[in-house]
């Protein structure tokens, strides 16, 4: 209950509405969420203060802030400031660090505070973070939705508490059920279709859609999207895990050798795409190769002309846009997208823009 009194003071504009809801609904969890709420607010201020510095120092600052917690940091937050929470299943890998940079840049551009909460693929952590964010009086929440069963409930509760919610990256199927403003992300299906169009343009007749995981719905949707737009035949095959690239390469080699009609490969991940390239080279086959996502290796191969294109999610936008949209919603009651998801992809990297993208990815924004 201590926290709810505090953020009554911090967020006067929305105070009356939010406080009446959360103090009635949150009374059961009051004692447990008090400490968490305080620490979240603390990390909010420290991240915001170090947002201009480099990414790694920001994250270390966030960790120290979260671990120390306390009331002192909370009192630094000034009335009228907007604090947006970005709660994702981020593992802080190369992909998510770009999302984070986008969000940080948006926060800096708009003069708002950002709290970055990586869940490291653990929905339970995300549930706690979402509840804590609501309890701490977030001005808005941007959340990824990798696991609908676990996360739809807490996010609905957030919307019910009049916290605007935008989903990002994953969750294009469930954001409407939550009552989120919109979804910012790449539809895997549309991305696959986009790749199919590219392969059509390249004149391919039969494409191997090479998957590096079995039963991953995102990867399956990429191949299904490809089937929708591609004019020729699509062979979808699991070719082995990224953990064993030798097996991956030899499996693709076998698939190519067994079917001379295959003249294109779409790898639905960057590692499997490179395996496909090596397999095709070993067999001396001319095939058009497309890939997904960016790695330095893959970008190099595109620049060298070995790989035709790669599908880029442009995840920087997945960090930047939700913060911008939340800001516009809170300050000006705007919504964008008309209830439909806002797609950040597919963007394509080809030989034409590879050099630029390599430069940008070194800066950490692609």
């Amino acid at each position: 209950m201590i926290t709810s009194k505090k953020w009554l003071a911090f967020v006067p504009a929305m105070a009356l509405v939010v406080a009446s809801c959360s103090s009635s609904s949150g009374s059961g969890a009051g004692t447990t969420s008090a400490g968490g709420g305080g620490s979240v607010a603390a990390s909010a201020s420290s991240v915001a203060s170090s947002a201009a510095s480099s990414g790694s120092s920001a994250s270390s600052a966030a960790t120290t802030g979260a671990s120390t917690g306390g009331t002192e940091a909370v009192s630094q937050t000034q009335a009228g400031d907007l604090t947006f929470y970005m709660i994702t299943h981020s593992d802080d890998g190369p992909f998510w660090s770009v999302v984070k940079r986008g969000a940080e840049q948006a926060a800096k551009d708009l003069g708002v505070k950002l709290v970055w909460k990586p869940g490291n693929n653990d929905p339970q952590v995300m549930v706690k973070d979402i509840e804590a964010a609501v309890a701490a009086g977030a001005s808005g929440i941007a959340a990824s939705l990798p696991n609908a069963d676990a996360l739809v409930g807490p996010l609905k509760a957030a919307v019910a508490a009049h916290v605007p919610v935008i989903t990002l990256n994953s969750g294009s199927k469930d954001y409407q059920a939550i009552g989120a403003l919109t979804h910012v992300g790449q539809s895997e299906d549309v991305a696959g279709s986009g790749a199919g169009d590219r392969l059509n343009a390249a004149g391919a007749k039969k494409v191997l859609c090479a998957q590096q995981e079995q039963g991953n719905s995102g990867l399956t949707e990429r191949c299904q999207g490809l089937e929708k737009s591609f004019k020729g035949k699509v062979v979808t095959q699991f070719v082995g895990l990224d953990a064993d690239t030798t097996a991956q390469q030899n499996t693709i080699n076998a698939a190519l050798a067994a079917d001379p009609a295959i003249d294109a490969i779409l790898g639905v991940g960057p590692v499997v795409t490179m395996s496909a390239l090596r397999a095709a080279k070993d067999l001396g086959r001319k095939v058009t190769i497309g890939g997904f996502d960016l790695t330095p290796e893959l970008l190099g191969a595109i620049q060298a002309g070995d790989i035709a294109f790669t599908v880029d999610q442009q995840q920087y936008l997945q960090g930047y846009m939700p913060i911008l949209l939340l800001y516009l919603n809170v300050t000006n009651q705007n919504t964008l997208g008309g209830g439909l998801p806002i797609l950040t992809g597919p963007g394509f990297v080809t030989k034409d823009n590879a050099a630029e993208v390599i430069k940008l990815s070194k800066q950490g924004t692609r």
Partner: protein, 677 residues
């Protein structure tokens, strides 16, 4: 003899003499054969011990009784895996258009190489009674470490070391982690399963954390930024492009070496099986030499003639040469049987023989009658072709199984019955060969499977004939065993060299036919060398004996003076060494490594070891089995892709193989154990 590492000595090895034990152990141990040192699992240990304990038995100890060459063969841990590998290979060869090609063979061998080096090391560790769950993550970690060390310094991290520094540094670290694993297992007394699970997670975290901390990415490249990359590349990644190596006489050498190897192997089995006669019979040798000369001439003739009639005539001539020639050789060296007896099959045997032959013929009829037009698509169950193939195969296999059972049972009746029963089996195989020739339109069946099965039929017939006319040796003869084992090793080596020549070189005709490029690399050589080295260590060194000892019963081993803790720690370090080596191979192969490389592979290593006949409980197994197990894992991987099957079923197939392997290994072991007495 308890401490002698059983199943893993190479087939061509002589059983160790009793007095060698004293060389193996630091001090002579008298307690070793006493009943007080009983292993924890009597049944398994009996099998293990029996595998080598074929030395002279002065006191009539049944454990040291003489065992025939086939019994010895089937006692080996990896024999089930070898049969399985051949079966799976044949299956995918049959259902896929490209699986049997040289390019795809390189494909599955290459996949097996990195898996296999680890599986061999993990087999050793498992024989020693421990697990290492960190081995998979370790391969990736070592690859990343090497790349990080040699990577040019700059915005994206890297140390810029030369490889000559990075390689020993990373090796030292790998051995250190292996040592740590062993030390912790020994010190805490906790199961290695738990300890190495901890190391596994620690390594995964380290890989990810350090990569992002120092390089800012989870993928780290590139190996070729090392200043001395080009000097090291040949050792770890030299490639061989088959299509660039033409060898006009390739087929001559291939056929000559394989034929000679098979012949020497057969003669070796004769040497191991039959009893020498006091005075050699010179006419037999003449008979052998003349038949061999005629056979070789006929073989050359096969190359020049054309047309079905001539080929058939020459085929019959070669078959005759095999029968007559082998008879000559055996009658030259070995003692004939005095009393052959008259055919005395009981009613069950006769019924089974008739039924077996009937089933084989019925299978042939099904195959011919149910002929379907769609020759391409006989892959899976629901087409007419699929039903036809499955029905015919099931009938054929059932028939052959019955015939084989009868010929086994007839062994115990008398020589003449055995001859009849074995001939029936040969006849069954010949019928199947004929069926394939008549019913199949696929050229590869007619050109490869048909002559192979005919050859097999002739061989089985000849063997039945010889075994019913000449006396089986029923006692140990050290010199004959040594000679036989060496001949067998030579024969197998000759076949392997012949196959390697066939694989590595291309002929003008193939080039003109547009054979797709096939590429292999030095990795295969490392795989073979590492496997051979570990087989040698297990079979021929004190450390190998200790490995079996600590895995079988650690306390007993300790009591007789085996340094158990040190042995286990060394085994952990061996696995770490293998992981380091595989890490280098991968780093040189793909030039960059992602943080999750190798994660989860440790279970494949363990599966490969188990499929290869190594026991989860320790104390029994073989290094060679691990290598074969790796092949069994990789063949379906490439095979399913080659056969263009739906890959959703992949894990079902791998799981089934694992179950079959474990069950059949156990069956073979108990069977061989029972036959022994």
């Amino acid at each position: 003899m308890t401490l002698q590492g059983g199943g893993t000595e190479p087939l061509g090895s002589t059983p160790p003499d009793v007095d060698r034990r004293e060389v193996w152990l630091e001090e002579p141990l008298t307690t070793i054969d006493k009943p007080s040192v009983q292993p924890a699992e009597p049944e398994l240990m009996v099998a293990n011990r029996g595998a080598t304990a074929s030395a002279v038995a002065p006191d009539g100890d049944e454990r040291l009784a003489y065992r025939s060459v086939f019994q010895r063969l089937f006692m080996r841990p990896e024999v089930g895996a070898i049969i399985g590998a051949v079966g799976i290979w044949t299956f995918f060869w049959a259902v896929s258009g490209t699986f049997g090609t040289v390019g795809q063979t390189f494909g599955w061998l290459d996949t097996a190489a990195t898996l296999g080096i680890m599986a061999v090391a993990v087999s050793m560790l498992m024989i020693g009674g421990e697990f290492d769950l960190s081995s998979g993550a370790m391969t990736g970690a070592m690859g990343m470490l090497i790349i990080y060390l040699v990577k040019a310094t700059g915005a994206l991290g890297g140390r810029g070391f030369p490889l000559e520094l990075a390689i020993p540094l990373s090796l030292a670290l790998a051995l250190g982690i292996g040592y740590l694993n062993g030390w912790m297992v020994e010190r805490t007394g906790q199961p290695s399963f738990i300890i190495t699970l901890g190391t596994f997670f620690a390594l995964i975290g380290l890989k990810l954390g350090l990569a992002k901390r120092f390089v800012g990415q989870i993928q780290i490249g590139r190996t070729d930024e090392a200043s001395d990359f080009k000097y090291f590349r040949p050792f770890f990644a030299a490639e061989w492009e088959r299509n660039k190596h033409e060898f006009a006489q390739r087929d001559f050498w291939y056929i000559a070496l394989v034929a000679a190897g098979v012949l020497i192997s057969i003669l070796a089995v004769c040497e191991l099986w039959f009893k020498r006669r006091a005075e050699p019979k010179a006419t037999g040798l003449v008979q052998f030499l003349v038949s061999a000369a005629v056979g070789i001439a006929a073989g050359i003739g096969l190359n020049v003639t054309d047309g079905v009639g001539a080929n058939l005539a020459i085929g019959v001539l070669i078959a005759l040469c095999i029968v007559v020639g082998l008879h000559g050789w055996v009658s030259w060296r070995y003692e004939p049987i005095g009393e052959r007896g008259s055919v005395a099959l009981d009613s069950t045997m006769i019924r089974r023989t008739v039924l077996g032959l009937a089933l084989v013929v019925l299978g042939g009829v099904v195959a011919v009658v149910m002929d379907s037009k769609s020759t391409n698509n006989f892959v899976f169950p629901f087409t007419t072709q699929g039903v036809r193939v499955m029905l015919a195969s099931a009938l054929g296999v059932a028939g052959l199984t019955l015939l084989a059972m009868v010929s086994q049972a007839a062994l115990r009746v008398n020589a003449a019955s055995k001859f009849i029963a074995t001939s029936a089996l040969a006849l069954g195989i010949a019928v199947i060969a004929a069926t394939i020739y008549i019913a199949s339109k696929a050229p590869k069946f007619r050109a490869a499977l048909f002559p192979f099965l005919l050859f097999l039929a002739v061989l089985i017939f000849t063997w039945g004939m010889l075994a019913s006319r000449f006396a089986e040796r029923r006692a140990v003869a050290a010199r004959a065993d040594r000679l036989g084992n060496r001949m067998l090793a030579l024969g197998i080596l000759s076949v392997l060299i012949g196959l390697a020549i066939r694989m590595l070189f291309i002929t003008k005709a193939e080039l003109l036919a547009g054979v797709p490029p096939a590429k292999t690399s030095v990795r295969l050589l490392w795989f073979a060398l590492f496997t051979a080295a570990m087989m040698w260590v297990l079979a021929r060194t004190r450390f190998g004996s200790w490995t079996f000892a600590v895995g079988g019963n650690k306390e007993a081993a300790r009591q007789v003076g085996v340094p158990a803790a040190r042995t286990k720690t060394k085994l952990f370090m061996l696995v770490a060494f293998a992981a380091w080596f595989v890490g280098i191979l991968v780093a040189f192969r793909i030039n960059s490594i992602q943080a999750n490389a190798g994660d989860g592979q440790e279970f494949l290593y363990i599966i490969a070891a188990v499929v290869g006949g190594t026991l989860l409980t320790g104390g029994y197994g073989s290094a060679f089995g691990g290598a074969i197990g790796a092949c069994i894992m990789s063949i379906p991987l490439i095979g399913i892709s080659s056969a263009r099957w739906n890959t959703d079923w992949r894990f079902l197939i791998i799981g089934t193989i694992l179950l079959l392997a474990v069950v059949s290994n156990r069956y073979l072991r108990t069977k061989a154990g029972a036959v022994r007495r």
